[in-house]
């Protein structure tokens, strides 16, 4: 009986001990949970709130424990070890004072003193992660998974005796780049840039400039979209195709099934910094003389004759400086017709290679031609004027037949040098030869030919600069060849099934994939994005702390200045994404970028005129009604990139188009991974941690 009693007593004693231990563990468990929560919040927000003049993005303080974790997590998954442990002291790095205040008060509230010590360890296990992203073979850093967080609480009973209890938690994390494979390489991508279904599409030519190449705002409703294709890196024109593809430079794609004619804006030697002119795309000597000899012959009376051309951009200015050019062309019926149909008084709404004040070369893909005025002049070998000096356009317009007037012009005494030097008479054949070869006219060429003059403006043969063996030569000599619409160079391997650029949907996985979003917000009842972001804890003092992609279900509006603390993305599934205020990275975060995406709607800008927006914009839709970027009131500058189905639907919309300065964000040009399997897109990585750790029991 005694033994039985003893046994029973011990059983009850164990039971009591067990209850006591469970009680203590529960008491510590809530405390450990609080520490785990603070650890996760440290992971989630500290990097975003760290101001670093060197990192210029959301990154932990250099040398801190968290920086080591971030470095590790930013690697491709293939570089992960099977398990790697990172101590994560709560009081470490820039936010020490902030978290120490929280911890001290928490310790005091719980009634603990020095007898309780904490140690937090983050464990990254390779098997807890999967690789994600639209093109995981090309951009290898995207992944999602769980971190394991161990909170070890040590109760110090005496100098020699202590008890340690471990509490384990998991925290979801998504590491994704603010980058869209292939599309990000383009500063401007328009799936279908055609404005009509005809052969001759000149509807974009709507912008007035004066004779100096400055924007004439009193005569024009339309304002140009001025591209800066390298984010002010001032990358020079190189002569090989791969340079354009591999540089940190944004390309341009204007898609469509036929030619698009873009008039180049006039600029003048006396206004070298004009804000809208495109004279840098023409041959000019150092003394600004733009005449280049094309034909030569020997006049019976005056010896060697040279017919030279002078190319000039368009303007609707009425001063003599400008009108004198048009006079030479509008002297013929066909010249008049060309000027009218090609809207040759107006420059296009695009400045694809920048403006005179700041040229910005890139590769333009799509069947795009630049259109301009070519004035023909005949001079003697010694520079004195030939007869005639100006070779006016003498064309007729079909079905009218050329009358004797034109025949006889060439036969007039004023044309004697032309007749004898080039063997012309008053026959129909001579007349045709004159009109098609020698006379002043409206001219066009592949848009990329301007690159030759941007490389060496004093070389009249722009094409000869580019080696025939190189693909770039084909872009310079033709606007319609088999590489016109192809995904270029190393980017062609990203999506094996998407060989060309014609369908934006081929790249949709990069911006439409639901799995890449860290936050989903149903906003069918509330269009105010700022309010909803705040409710989700993603906004602090109008600063976005998402550090990942946020998806809204319905149309939404950013109606107050939004600063983002890290790279991120805002995606609207259905409806328009309207921007009514500046959107920019917060201070010390210039290397961050926000993606603004409408999946089935438009991205609409209604910003104050002095607003600056740093964001890459994608407007997509499966239907033809949406997928546009609409500049109702454009910002002063848009730094990022633009990709859309359509910019304007017809020439009427082009007539009132409001452009802006589009400055490419060079980090978007990042190339896919090479043989080492490491893509260089670390700058745009986002680290989205869950807000509440889950206990692993």
């Amino acid at each position: 009986m005694f033994l039985f009693a003893l046994g029973y007593s011990r059983f009850l004693s164990y039971q009591s001990d067990a209850a006591d231990k469970i009680g203590k563990k529960q008491k510590l468990s809530e405390f450990a949970s609080a520490l785990a929560t603070l650890s996760v919040h440290k992971l989630k927000y500290s990097a975003q709130l760290t101001n670093s003049t060197t990192a210029r993005r959301a990154w932990p303080e250099a040398g801190s424990a968290m920086a080591r974790l971030y470095d590790y997590l930013s690697q491709p998954l293939s570089k992960f070890e099977s398990a790697k442990h990172f101590p994560l002291p709560l009081l470490d790095g820039d936010d020490t004072s902030h978290l120490s205040m929280l911890l001290a008060q928490l310790w005091q509230t719980a009634g603990y003193g020095d007898e309780l010590k904490e140690a937090i360890t983050v464990t990254v296990m390779r098997d807890d992660f999967i690789q994600t992203g639209a093109a995981p073979e090309a951009y290898t850093r995207n992944k999602s998974g769980n971190l394991r967080i161990t909170v070890s609480l040590t109760i110090i009973h005496s100098e020699t005796f202590s008890t340690t209890l471990d509490f384990n938690y998991s925290c979801p994390v998504r590491i994704a780049t603010a980058h869209v494979p292939v599309l990000s390489k383009y500063n401007l991508y328009i799936e279908n840039a055609r404005l009509n279904s005809g052969e001759y599409d000149a509807g974009y030519n709507q912008v007035s400039v004066d004779s100096f190449g400055n924007f004439a705002d009193t005569r024009s409703k339309a304002r140009a979209l001025v591209l800066n294709n390298d984010g002010n890196l001032n990358l020079p024109v190189k002569l090989e195709f791969r340079n354009f593809v591999e540089d940190a430079r944004g390309l341009v794609y204007l898609g469509g099934d036929a030619s698009i004619f873009l008039n180049l804006a006039r600029s003048d030697a006396v206004a070298l910094n004009s804000e809208s002119g495109e004279g840098f795309q023409f041959f000019r000597r150092l003394n600004f003389d733009g005449l280049y000899p094309v034909y030569d012959g020997n006049s019976a009376e005056n010896g060697r004759m040279l017919i030279s051309f002078l190319d000039q951009g368009v303007s609707d200015d009425t001063d003599e400086r400008n009108l004198s050019f048009y006079r030479r062309i509008e002297s013929g019926f066909f010249g008049v017709k060309q000027v009218q149909e090609g809207r040759l008084r107006y420059s296009s709404i695009f400045r694809l290679f920048g403006v005179q004040a700041r040229p910005s070369p890139t590769l333009v893909q799509g069947n795009i031609l630049s259109q301009y005025l070519t004035i023909a002049i005949m001079k003697r070998d010694d520079g004195r004027p030939g007869r005639p000096l100006y070779l006016d356009n003498l064309s007729y317009s079909a079905p009218m037949l050329p009358d004797a007037y034109y025949y006889n012009c060439i036969n007039l005494p004023e044309y004697t040098d032309l007749q004898t030097a080039f063997g012309l008479d008053n026959s129909l054949d001579s007349y045709k030869q004159y009109v098609t070869r020698y006379s002043s006219r409206v001219n066009h060429r592949p848009y990329n030919q301007g690159l030759g003059f941007m490389h060496t403006q004093t070389n009249p043969d722009a094409v000869a600069l580019f080696p025939e063996s190189d693909l770039l030569n084909r872009f310079v000599t033709s606007s319609a060849h088999d590489a016109t619409h192809k995904v270029p160079g190393v980017f062609a391997e990203i999506y094996p099934d998407a060989a060309d650029l014609k369908m934006m949907s081929a790249f949709a996985k990069g911006f439409a994939d639901e799995a890449m979003a860290s936050y989903h917000i149903d906003n069918s009842e509330e269009p105010d994005a700022m309010k909803l972001l705040k409710q989700q804890g993603l906004l602090s003092q109008n600063r976005l702390v998402a550090d990942g992609w946020v998806r809204f279900s319905s149309a939404t509006t950013i109606n107050r200045r939004l600063e983002y603390m890290s790279s991120a993305g805002i995606v609207v599934e259905n409806g328009d994404l309207t921007i009514e205020a500046p959107v920019a990275p917060a201070g010390f975060r210039d290397d961050c970028l926000l993606y603004l995406v409408a999946l089935n709607g438009n991205v609409v800008f209604k910003t104050p005129p002095d607003a600056k927006v740093q964001a890459a914009v994608i407007a997509f839709s499966e239907t033809t009604d949406h997928g546009r970027v609409v500049f109702i009131a454009p910002p002063a500058e848009l730094r990022g990139a633009l990709a859309m189905k359509k910019l304007v639907r017809n020439s009427s919309e082009a007539e009132t188009f409001q452009g802006t300065s589009l400055v490419y964000f060079p980090a978007l040009a990042v190339k896919p991974a090479g043989s080492d399997g490491v893509s260089q897109d670390a700058q745009l990585l986002t680290f989205s941690f869950g807000q509440q750790p889950q206990e692993i029991r």
């Binding site: 006591d20 009680g23 008491k27 709130l49 902030h98 205040m101 509230t109 009634g111 602090s540 003092q541």
Partner: protein, 143 residues
């Protein structure tokens, strides 16, 4: 000659002695049982206290940041919880207190979250001793 008769059994004295010895032997066992029962009651109360504390703590955490305003250091007594029209009360022997306080309200203004400490304290008397159990955690919400 008288034949001696053999008598079996215990004498009274023997019996008294035996009972005394047995009583002396059983007493500590009874004492053991008594103490064990006290321990069982104590354990039961501990378990009850844990349950009461966890019940309120989980309820407060699940109710969200704004469901309970800061209570001050004194806290508020919460003897019962009403959940889906059902009221769950604690036994009268126990008292339960909730203390909610803002945590470091002056911390980094850029930090997007607000924190409060949630403390649930359960008190009771066991074995004529005042007993107490305290759970401490935090709750957070966007600023």
């Amino acid at each position: 000659m008288m034949r001696k008769t053999c008598r079996h059994g215990f004498s009274f004295v023997e019996l008294v002695v035996a009972i005394t010895i047995m009583a002396i032997g059983i007493m500590p066992i009874m004492w053991f049982f008594s103490r064990s029962n006290m321990g069982t009651i104590k354990t039961r109360d501990e378990v009850y206290a844990q349950q009461y504390a966890a019940e309120l703590y989980d309820f407060v955490i699940a109710s969200g940041f704004n469901a309970y305003s800061p209570t001050g250091e004194a806290g508020v007594e919460v003897p019962a919880l009403t959940l889906a029209d059902e009221t769950i009360s604690i036994e009268e022997r126990f008292s339960r207190r909730l203390i909610v306080e803002d945590l470091a309200p002056a911390h980094n203004p850029d930090w997007p979250l607000l924190y409060r400490t949630v403390v649930v304290e359960v008190n009771w008397i066991a074995d004529q001793q005042q007993r107490s159990l305290k759970l401490t955690g935090i709750i957070h919400a966007p600023k």
